[in-house]
Symmetry: C2
Subunit: 239 residues, 2 copies
């Protein structure tokens, strides 16, 4: 903090300045894990700012798990800090473009079928339910980036049946048009299957990064997808 709370500050401290000062006190062990820190009014007086500014700083620190706030008790330095990262669910095109590469995709196959028995339980669909099976290959600068094998519940997303996928991929179409409230997202490493190896231009058994995702809107399944990346892929998250 450039100005300590002497009240003589030319400019009142911003919530960012307050946030940084609180983090400094934690880093420098002025405030220990588990310790109850002064109330908002006391901090506002010390920092020479409005109480609402202190409140915003504490709220943001609570959001990332650095402090814990309890009504009628006050604010404590968290004993078990940050335990969550946000993992973005991007449109594949955006992800490729964000890396400065040129994106294109190609639809390898597209079939409207009755849900195969082997997938029925996983998709929680009735026997014979109509699904769209699409296989796509996504490229970054003409190199295979992701092989996508996707099943879509046509009862939930009937409009997708009329899409040509010439300019917009099934992934992007779904992100734009099919809201979901539930998601299961499983990440793993595997050896490439024969098909995956061929698609990605690697050898069978080579390590690949696998994302399996299923989404629902309430109790209605939307889509189940397996997305396979070569081992050069990094899934990056920042807090």
């Amino acid at each position: 903090m450039t100005q300590t709370g002497t009240g003589a500050a030319a400019q009142p401290n911003s919530f960012r300045t307050i946030k940084t000062e609180i983090l400094r006190r934690i880093r420098d062990r002025v405030w220990q894990p588990g310790e109850l820190i002064p109330g908002e009014e006391d901090l506002a007086r010390e920092f020479g700012c409005a109480r609402v500014t202190v409140n915003r700083a504490l709220r943001e620190l609570a959001d990332i798990g650095i402090v814990e706030r309890k009504r009628r008790v006050g604010t404590r330095i968290a004993e078990h800090p940050l335990r969550e990262a946000r993992l973005e669910i991007p449109v594949v095109r955006t992800e490729v473009e964000a890396r400065g590469a040129q994106y294109r995709f190609s639809v390898l196959s597209r079939d409207e079928v009755e849900v195969p028995e082997t997938l029925r339980a996983r998709l929680e669909l009735p026997p014979g339910a109509p699904v769209l099976h699409v296989r796509c290959l996504h490229f970054a600068d003409n190199r295979p980036w992701q092989f996508e094998d996707r099943w879509i519940n046509l009862a939930a997303v009937p409009d997708i049946a009329g899409q040509s996928f010439e300019t917009v991929s099934p992934n992007e179409w779904l992100v734009r048009n099919a809201p979901f409230s539930e998601m299961e997202n499983d990440l793993s490493a595997a050896g490439a299957t024969t098909e995956e190896a061929e698609m990605l231009g690697v050898s069978r058994g080579d390590p690949v990064f696998v994302i399996e995702r299923a989404t629902w809107l309430l109790d209605q399944p939307i889509t189940l997808v397996r997305m396979v990346h070569p081992s050069s892929y990094r899934m990056i998250s920042r807090v």
Copy 2:
């Protein structure tokens, strides 16, 4: 919704009921992506509940990206719904125990050294800075679960130098005692190195799931760790 908003409901609708009803209308295309929905007061009247109840339902739907709220404009059905999953950063012990397995760990090596030149830039440390290098193996039901290769900035976390790691692993100790405000978390698939293969009981080049994580408190690096799992591992997140 079991009761529609006729005003004749025996019990006022809860925010969960309202939330489900809004999701139903989105699922059934009563409300389209991008559409501005009625205001809180109108919805409260229709649902026969307090405005604060509608507000809470909408707030929770905004948190998961289903609706977008703008002051003085109102609430819209999101055109680009949910784009984020929360990825928990668990204590390894907790993660193993949550799968119903028995956890134990073993410290393979522990050295206080000057930061190696190859790591210095990545860790953003001055030349010769003291670091603790720890290598651990974590087990689930006596099978190798994770091989951990970790560097800790002793200037940031001096207390860790006195820890024996007999009962509490470095991972767990850090989660409990070293808060951080910044994190980089990279996930990838790779072929096991000779050392990783030996530790995990797999063959060299076999697919492994790799988590590389670096944390900071403000500008001060805390730890850099590479955690390697055999290919049976799944990183699971739910929304």
